[in-house]
C-alpha cells in the first residue's frame, strides 16, 4: 500500500524546494496549513491514496467552516496558520534540561501522585537520553507481551499509523463512519491533519482479556495535538479501554483537537474510560491547553452497548461531548462524567444520546464541580427519532460549587419525535456546607482533605464505573486539583 507514496514525495519536493526538504528531514513543518502540507503529512506516513483523499476532503470542508461559537467558553482567537501541523517530538532546544527547570508546581503534583522520578522526567519532557530510551524500552517490552496475548485472540491493537499499514481495509471501512469529515470544525481539522493515535479491533465473540491501558499510557505521551482513535468491537465482543494518564502533562501545543470513533456491532460492548488531566495553566489560566475533542460511539448493531466514563480535571478550556448513536434495537448508551474546574478553567462538556433503534436506552450521570473562578457547563442532547419506539433516557446532572466566584450551568436539550419515549431529567446544585466541613474537621481532617473527601463522595456514582486502579488515581487527582480552593 505504499506505492502511492512516491509521487507525493516528488510533489512535496517540488512544492517546497526552498529549505522544506531539510525541514522534512528534521521532522517539523513550518507553520501554516494548505493542501500541500496535508500531502506532506500523508506522504511522510506512507499512507494509501484513499486516506490522502479523505484528508483532503476534510480539509476542503474545514475551509468552509467556522469555529463553533455556542460553547459556553471564552478564549483568544486561535491563529490556525501559525501552528505547525507536523512535528516530531519537541526539539531538545525547547525542552527543559533537567527537572530543575520544570515548573515546581507541576513537580509537587507529581510527588503527591507518587510518580517515580524517571517517569516525572518523561512526563515533564526533560531531555535525557537515558530516561527517554528506558521509557521506550519499557514500553516496547510491555507492548510485546501485550501484543502476544492480544494476537492470540485475534485482537488488533496498536498505533493508528501502524494499522494504516497493516490493516488498511479496516481503516477504509470504518474511519469517518462515526464522525464524518465535515462533522464539526475541530473534527474536520483533525481529519485533515491528524498525526497519530490508537487503533483497536476486537473480532467476533472475543472478550478482550485485559484493560487496554498501560500500553497506551506509555505510547500516548507524544502522539501530538491531533490524535485519532478508532475502536471497533465486532459482534458479541467486549473491550474496556482506558485513555489518558493521570499525571498532568506539560505540552507546548496549546490546541488539542482529538477525534475518537467507536463502533459496536451487534451484542458488542465497549467501555471507554478517560482521565483527562492536561495542564490547566497557572492560576490565571495562562499556558493552559485548549482541549476540543469529538468523541462518538455508534451502537451499530442490535443490543450493542457503549459506555463513556470521563473524569476531566485538566485543560484551560475543555470542549467535549462524548456521544452515542443508538442505532441498533435494544442498544444501550451510557455517559458518566466528572468535570472539575478550578481557578480560571472553563469546561463545556456533556453528551448526546441519539436514539434511533427500538427500545434503546441511555443513562447520563454528570457531576460538575466548580471551584475558584471555574466555569462549568453541562450541555446535553437527548434525541429520540421517529422510529425509536419505547426509547428511554434517564439524565441526572448535579453541580457542586465551592466558594462563591465560580459558576455552573446546565443546558439540557431534549428532542423527542416518538410519543412512546420516556425521558427523565433531574438536576441539582449544591454547595459544600460549612456544617459538613466543620464536621469533618472536628474529626481531625484538615480543610483540604475534608473538601476532597466530600467532593469524592459527590462523584461516587461516576467513580464506581471506573476500573479500580483508575478510580483510586482519579480520587487523588481531584484532591490535588482542588488544592487551595478553600480556607
Amino acid at each position: 500500500m505504499t506505492t502511492a507514496t512516491d509521487p507525493y514525495h516528488a510533489l512535496v519536493n517540488r512544492e517546497y524546494s526552498e529549505g522544506f526538504v531539510t525541514d522534512i528531514e528534521s521532522e517539523t513543518l513550518p507553520p501554516g496549513l494548505d493542501e500541500d502540507v496535508i500531502r506532506v503529512i500523508s506522504a511522510k506516513k506512507k499512507e494509501p491514496e484513499f486516506l490522502l483523499n479523505w484528508r483532503l476532503e476534510a480539509f476542503r470542508h474545514w475551509q468552509t467552516m467556522r469555529e463553533p461559537r455556542w460553547a459556553s467558553v471564552h478564549h483568544a482567537p486561535i491563529d490556525y496558520q501559525a501552528l505547525s501541523y507536523y512535528s516530531a517530538p519537541k526539539s531538545d532546544a525547547d525542552r527543559p534540561k533537567s527537572l530543575d527547570e520544570v515548573d515546581p508546581e507541576l513537580l509537587r503534583t507529581y510527588e503527591k501522585l507518587g510518580i517515580p522520578l524517571r517517569e516525572q522526567e518523561m512526563l515533564a519532557g526533560v531531555i535525557g537520553g537515558n530516561v527517554a530510551v528506558d521509557a521506550v524500552f519499557d514500553s516496547v517490552s510491555v507492548a510485546t507481551t501485550f501484543k502476544k496475548t492480544l494476537a492470540e485472540k485475534g485482537i488488533i491493537f496498536g498505533s493508528f499509523s501502524e494499522a494504516v499499514q497493516t490493516h488498511p481495509e479496516l481503516i477504509e471501512q470504518y474511519l469517518g463512519s462515526v464522525v464524518p469529515v465535515g462533522d464539526n470544525f475541530f473534527a474536520a481539522l483533525n481529519s485533515a491533519v491528524f498525526s497519530d493515535g490508537s487503533f483497536c479491533y476486537v473480532p467476533k465473540g472475543v472478550r478482550c482479556p485485559m484493560e487496554l491501558s498501560t500500553y497506551f499510557r506509555i505510547n500516548q505521551a507524544n502522539t501530538g495535538q491531533f490524535e485519532r482513535t478508532l475502536l471497533i468491537a465486532d459482534e458479541g465482543s467486549y473491550v474496556s479501554y482506558l485513555e489518558g494518564c493521570t499525571a498532568p502533562q506539560r505540552d507546548e501545543n496549546q490546541l488539542h483537537a482529538a477525534v475518537v470513533e467507536l463502533v459496536a456491532l451487534a451484542d458488542a460492548e465497549i467501555k471507554y474510560s478517560t482521565v483527562q488531566n492536561w495542564y490547566p495553566g497557572d492560576a490565571e489560566g495562562k499556558g493552559g491547553i485548549y482541549n476540543f475533542v469529538t468523541k462518538r460511539g455508534d451502537c451499530r448493531g442490535d443490543r450493542a452497548k457503549i459506555s463513556w466514563t470521563q473524569v476531566e480535571t485538566g485543560s484551560a478550556i475543555t470542549w467535549k461531548y462524548p456521544s452515542c448513536v443508538l442505532r441498533g434495537n435494544d442498544s444501550i448508551g451510557e455517559f458518566y462524567s466528572v468535570a472539575l474546574t478550578n481557578n480560571a478553567q472553563q469546561a463545556d462538556t456533556g453528551t448526546k444520546m441519539i436514539h434511533l433503534g427500538r427500545n434503546t436506552s441511555s443513562t447520563i450521570i454528570s457531576k460538575g464541580i466548580s471551584a475558584g473562578k471555574g466555569h462549568n457547563a453541562y450541555r446535553g442532547l437527548v434525541k429520540v427519532g421517529k422510529g425509536a419506539e419505547g426509547a428511554r433516557n434517564y439524565t441526572q446532572c448535579d453541580s457542586l460549587l465551592i466558594g462563591d466566584k465560580c459558576s455552573a450551568h446546565t443546558f439540557p436539550y431534549i428532542e423527542v419525535q416518538n410519543p412512546s419515549a420516556s425521558v427523565e431529567h433531574e438536576a441539582t446544585t449544591s454547595k459544600i456546607s460549612d456544617d459538613q466541613l466543620f464536621y469533618c474537621m472536628q474529626r481531625g481532617l484538615d480543610a483540604e482533605d475534608a473538601v476532597s473527601m466530600i467532593v469524592n463522595g459527590f462523584c461516587k456514582e461516576v467513580f464506581r464505573e471506573l476500573p479500580m486502579e483508575f478510580a483510586v488515581e482519579a480520587q487523588k487527582l481531584l484532591g490535588i486539583s482542588l488544592e487551595g480552593s478553600v480556607g
Binding site: 474537621m441 481531625g444 481532617l445
Partner: protein, 256 residues
Amino acid sequence: MLEIRNLCVETDGKPILKGINLSVKAGEVHAIMGPNGSGKSTLAHVLSGRDGYEVTAGEVLYQGVDLLDRAPEERARDGVFLAFQYPVEIPGVSNVYLLKAALNAVRKQRGEEELDAMDFMAYVREKLKLVEMDESFLSRAVNQGFSGGEKKRNEILQMAVLEPRLAILDETDSGLDIDALRIVAGGVNSLRTPERSMILVTHYQRLLDYIVPDHVHVLANGQIVRSGGRELALELEEKGYSWINQAGAAGGEARP
C-alpha cells in the same frame, strides 16, 4: 484537663456566653443542663473551634495550654471530640471512609502508625459492638438516611473509635427512644476511664439516670447559675427551668 475562665462569647454582635467558669479534671463527667437557647451548644462549638463565634473575654486551657487559638482539626487530633447535636449528612462518603481517615489523622498526631484496611476493620468491629451497630452501617454514606437514633449512635461509634481525652456530647439523648437511649448510654459508660473527661450537654435529666455525672451545672442566660452534684439534676427535674430562669434573672450567681 479543661479550665474555662470567664469565657465570654458573642455571635453577630449578640452576647451569648457571659463569663463561664468551669473546671473539668481527668476522668470526671460533668453535665451541663439548661433551657433551650441558654448557650449550651455555643459552648460546645467554641470549645471545638467552630467558626462564627467571637470570644470577647476569658480563656480556655486544655491540658494546660491555650485551646482557643488552635484550628479545629488540631484540637480534634489532640483529643477533643464533639458529638454533634445535629450530625450532618455527607452524601457518597462511606462511614468507614470517614472513620478511617479520622482515626489515622488522630493516630498520626499521637505518633502512632496509620492502620491499614485489615487492622482497621478488626478494630472497628469491636467498637461497633459497643453501640450495637451492624457492620452494614460502615458502608452507608455518613448519616445519610439514618434515623435520629442511628445518627446519635454513629456519633458514639466515632467517639469509641477516636478515643478522645475530652468528649463533649451535645444533646446526645435528644430524639432517642428508651431502647436507643439505653444503647447510647451503655456505649458512653463503657468509654468512661480515669483518663477521659466528658461534658454531657443535655436538656433533660433523663440521660443522667443512665450516665451518672460527677458534677451538674445549670446554664441560663449564658452563665452557670448553679453547680452541684447529681441531686441538682433531680431538683431541676422537679422544679423545672422556670425556677432557674427566675434565679438567673434575679442575678443568681454561679456557685461552683
